[in-house]
Structure formats: structure tokens, C-alpha cells
Assembly symmetry: C2
DNA sequence: TCAATAGTGTCTATTAGACAGTATACC
DNA sequence: GGTATACTGTCTAATAGACACTATTGA
């Protein structure tokens, strides 16, 4: 175990002499996508409240993108793990404590385009979190000016498919809208997918960004896509729910994320094994009370992260 | 558009004065998992060649982990994208040119444990590539000593599930084996999954590593898992195939990655729409010739990366 | 009574799994 | 003919989608 390298050094000697600053390094940040399902004010006493998918954004107080809105996040310290950094930044900027609240968190993607930050080269590792907004109180710290929930919507504005030799080019324009009582942010993105034979290329471009800092609209869009995918075959949706919930409430959450209506009977069949009947009921208003369920921790599919 | 920050600076002034070296930065590397399906020497003239899943490793020529094997990869330059860095390092260390060969490449995960590199804090962005080994010639450059394919196998050695209050703890021990003509590397890992109510935690530990550098056995294991998942619902498997192939060859690839036998009739039904009959046949030996197919570029499911 | 939601039964279409059979090369 | 692989047909089970029906509350 005392091998020498080509300079005749043992490992201990090598490490003692190692100059960590030999090369210039990029900065590393973490960004957090925090999704929740929020209530919209109810239209009638008899109807159930209207629900919306929301995302947490923080107002930038300095250049670049001053006064625009960004995902909570910041620089990674040398002595903290990536996930820990994301938790710390979230706590600093919004007051949300991932560990105390036992909040779901998953790595999303790492963004490393050379020009994504005008200050310097910045590589950003993004994470997704899902929270039950009822349980979370926002109390933005000094670090960021404000932290706010924004109602989130994305839609395909246009799509064009051109057939080329041995494949095709697909151009899709996607509009992202973030909205709350007094703000409305938006972004237009174009995703170009080139398929020729077995080779594929995806290119993304921001055509227009109104109030959303950096390349964060890409990150949000990507996170939405991931959410849409994973809700179909995992139990992540339950992280958006309170401990006890009705099946109709759960179905609403699925519908909002998937962006389409589901049939009640089929939905119930599908999630049957993921929930446990608690025996209790919730009385909303002038209609039949709904049974309250909770997540079934026995339900499981994989050991994957 | 000439907003001032709290110090009274415009964006241009702020950027001109920005000190990118205010904080210490972690180093950022990329690591490449290059998978292929390789031939094993055939046992009999009449039988089809035996196929194996292989991964590309590079021998370390310096501390730390000198003389052990690592994934191809290295430090990211300030002026190159993450994917570009991965391509460059792969080319330098193994001679494989991702762009020229139109090789499939996908971001896997970003590893950022504080202690994962004894030299300094290193964050590593990992990528998966799938190649047809017939088309690839290895010619390792100066950067790394040797680049070699290793036959890859992973198996669950033991599994233990303990029921706890409101959930369970699952401990799984996984053995990873990398083998070629003159080397045999291995690693024992333990994955502990704690589920309590709706909160889940995963912890990974390397119990024993023989010849595999850094935390690369985690990365390999994670990549294998991803491969196994994605082969079921995407077309990635075709990246492991030559342009023309028989359905039996394709099925073998699926079987190797999934680690189980498939029924021929069902397999063919499943991949029917992903392939095109070329009209040509391949004559192997003393049995019925097989039709040659190619990938159908029309087949598609999503626009996701 | 009825508006509004909660909850169930069942038919059908699609997909996945199992298995048995036929076809075709060359030794 | 025999061996080894190529390819097909069909039965069955499981899953997903559609729709119609019944149940229960308080205004």
C-alpha cells in the first residue's frame, strides 16, 4: 500500500504537496424547485376549492437580473454536500427547513452552459422538492428580498415537424407563466429536437424571458416534465398532500400535474394500493362526506434513489 | 434597464467589479460511463456468440488510487460545457470521439459528497454513453495509462427488511464485478433505505472496494440501474446495436441488461414498431437465416432530453 | 327536493405473459 | 435426419379506459 507515483512520491507525500488551486475552477451553485398545490379562493360555498400548482421563487436584490425572480439557491460551501447546500440555501432564503419538515427532495439535473451566468462560469445542480403548502410557513430571511409562491402554467404554443432525410426536426415553442396576486412572469422557450437515424440532438433556447432570472425557466420546465413523468409510476404525489386527505383531493392533484381530467373510478382503482382508509371522514359542505385516507408506507416499487 | 443595486452600481459596473474569486470553489469533474455489448468467444460453431455487458475503465497513473481503475473523466475547463468536457476527456483518455461517431450520451447524476476525493473537494457530473463496440476502436492517449473494457456484473448478495414503527428499513448488499482477460475488480456496497410514514431516506456505503477508484462503483451501479429502467420504455438499446441487426441479437441485448430471459414471441411484439425490416438476411451457421432489421427513426415517445 | 360531491359495478379495449407450434438453414 | 435457430398463432391474465349507476349530505 505504499506505491510510488512517477515522481517517486507516496500517496501521503503526494496529497501533502497537492496544490488544489493549480487550475481555475468554476463556481458551483444549487437551485431548488419547490412545488406545492395551493388553494384558489373558492367560488361558491357548495363547491370544492380550486387548486393550482405553485412554485416558490425569490426576488433578486442584486445584479445580475436585479428585481427579477429566481429559484431559491446559492453557492455551495467547500465543506457541505450538495443536498445540504440546497437545504441551507432554502432555509436561508425562505425559512423552509427540509429536514425538520421531512420534505421530499430529489436531484433533478445539472446545468453547466458556459454563458449561463454573466458574473462567471457557474455550474448549478438543481433539486426538486414537493411540499404540502398548508404545513409550510414562508419567512424569507435577509439573504433574499422576498420569497413568494407563483401559480405555474406551461403550454405548448406551437409545434412544427419537418421531415428530413432519415428522420425529422421537431420545433416546439413552450410558454411558461408564473402568476400571483401582483406579479406575472413569463418565458418563451424553443426546444428543437433533431432525429436522424439513431442519433438524436436536443437544443434549447430562451426566446423571451420576462421577470425570470438566468436560465431558470429551463429548469422549471424540466422539473415540470419530471414531475409529470414520475407521478405516473411513483408515489411522489403524496408529498404534496397533507397527512389525511380525500381521494378527490388526491385526484385533483394528479389532474393538475398531468394537465388533464381523470375518470374517478379508474383513478381510484389505480391508487387503491397506495392508500389506507383511516375510517374518518371530512365534511365539506352540502354533500356526502368523503372518507379520509393516508399514504400506505408499505407501497413500494424500487430501491432507486 | 439601468437599475442600480444597493451600492448604487449599474449592472455593467457591478459586473466589471465582480470578484469571481471571493469564495473558495470546489473542483468540478465529469465522469463517463461507456457501456457496450461485447462478444465472448463462441463455444461451438453452431451456436450464436455469447454476449456480455461491458464498461470502459481507465487505469490511474497517479495518486490517489494509483494503479486502480476509474471511469474516464477529468476536470472541466472554464470555457467548455459539461457535456463537451466529458467528450473531450473521453477522447483524450480512450480515443473515442462522441461527435464523429454520433454516440448516445445522457447526463446521469451529480456526485458531491464532501469526502469523495482525498485531494480536495470535487463535484462530479456523470454521463452515460452507449456504443456499439464493433464500431469503436480504443486508442488510449497519454493522459491515462490504459483504457480497457471490463465485463460487468452486479448482483444482490443479501437483503434484509426490518419493519419499524410506521415503515421499514431495507438493507441491500450489492456486489459489483468487473472482469477481463487479466483483471478482476470488485466492490461491495450497502444501500440502506429507510421508510417511515411518507418520508424516505437512502444511504449508500462502500463496504469494500477492490481495484475501483473513488466512489466510482456507486456511479456504475447507479448507471446500471438507469440503463435497466430506460431500456423498458425508451429506444436506448439501439445505441448498443450495429446499424443492421437480427431480432435475436436485439433480444440478447435486452436480456443481458435486464438480467433475465424473455419470451421470443412477446419480445418481438413489443419492439415491432421500433424496427424496420431491411429485406436482407444474415446467415450465421447451420440453421435458418435471420432477417436483418434497422431502427425505425419514426418511433418516438417524448421530447424529453 | 336538489345541487353537489362521494363512491361502485361492469363492459370493453389494450397490453403483457405463457406456450405450442411451424419454418429453414447446413452439418 | 438432426440440430440449432428463426418465426408465428393463439390462449389467458392483467391493466387501462369509458360510462352508467347508486349514495349521502345540508341548504
Amino acid at each position: 500500500m505504499d506505491k510510488l507515483n512517477k515522481d517517486g512520491l507516496t500517496e501521503a507525500q503526494f496529497l501533502a504537496n497537492y496544490n488544489a488551486d493549480k487550475y481555475k475552477k468554476p463556481a458551483v451553485t444549487v437551485d431548488m424547485l419547490v412545488f406545492t398545490i395551493g388553494n384558489r379562493s373558492s367560488r361558491s360555498i357548495r363547491k370544492l376549492p380550486d387548486k393550482k400548482l405553485k412554485i416558490l421563487m425569490v426576488k433578486r436584490r442584486n445584479h445580475p437580473y436585479i428585481d427579477q425572480w429566481a429559484l431559491p439557491g446559492g453557492f455551495v460551501d467547500l465543506d457541505e454536500g450538495l443536498k445540504d447546500a440546497a437545504k441551507r440555501e432554502l432555509a436561508e432564503e425562505t425559512g423552509i427547513d427540509v429536514d425538520r419538515e421531512e420534505i421530499y427532495m430529489e436531484q433533478l439535473y445539472t446545468w453547466g452552459d458556459v454563458e449561463r451566468d454573466p458574473r462567471m462560469r457557474v455550474i448549478s445542480v438543481s433539486y426538486i422538492s414537493l411540499v404540502d403548502s398548508e404545513r409550510i410557513e414562508l419567512c424569507p430571511g435577509d439573504d433574499a428580498g422576498e420569497a413568494c409562491w407563483f401559480e405555474l402554467q406551461n403550454r405548448t404554443v406551437s409545434e412544427e415537424k419537418k421531415i428530413i432525410d432519415g428522420g425529422y426536426i421537431l420545433k416546439r415553442t413552450i410558454e411558461l407563466k408564473l402568476e400571483n396576486e401582483d406579479q406575472m412572469l413569463s418565458s418563451l422557450m424553443m426546444i428543437t429536437r433533431t432525429v436522424r437515424g439513431s442519433s438524436k440532438k436536443v437544443e434549447k433556447k430562451i426566446l423571451n424571458s420576462d421577470g425570470i432570472a438566468f436560465d431558470h425557466s429551463f429548469i422549471i420546465e424540466y422539473g415540470l416534465e419530471r414531475l409529470k413523468n414520475k407521478i405516473e409510476y411513483t408515489d411522489i404525489a403524496f408529498n404534496l398532500m397533507p397527512e389525511y386527505f380525500t381521494l378527490t383531493e388526491l385526484q385533483k392533484v394528479y389532474e393538475i400535474i398531468l394537465g388533464k381530467k381523470l375518470l374517478k373510478a379508474n383513478f381510484r382503482r389505480k391508487i387503491e394500493e397506495m392508500v389506507i382508509d383511516t375510517g374518518r371522514v371530512r365534511k365539506y359542505a352540502a354533500h356526502r362526506p368523503a372518507k379520509l385516507y393516508m399514504f400506505n408506507p408499505e407501497w413500494d416499487k424500487s430501491i432507486l434513489e
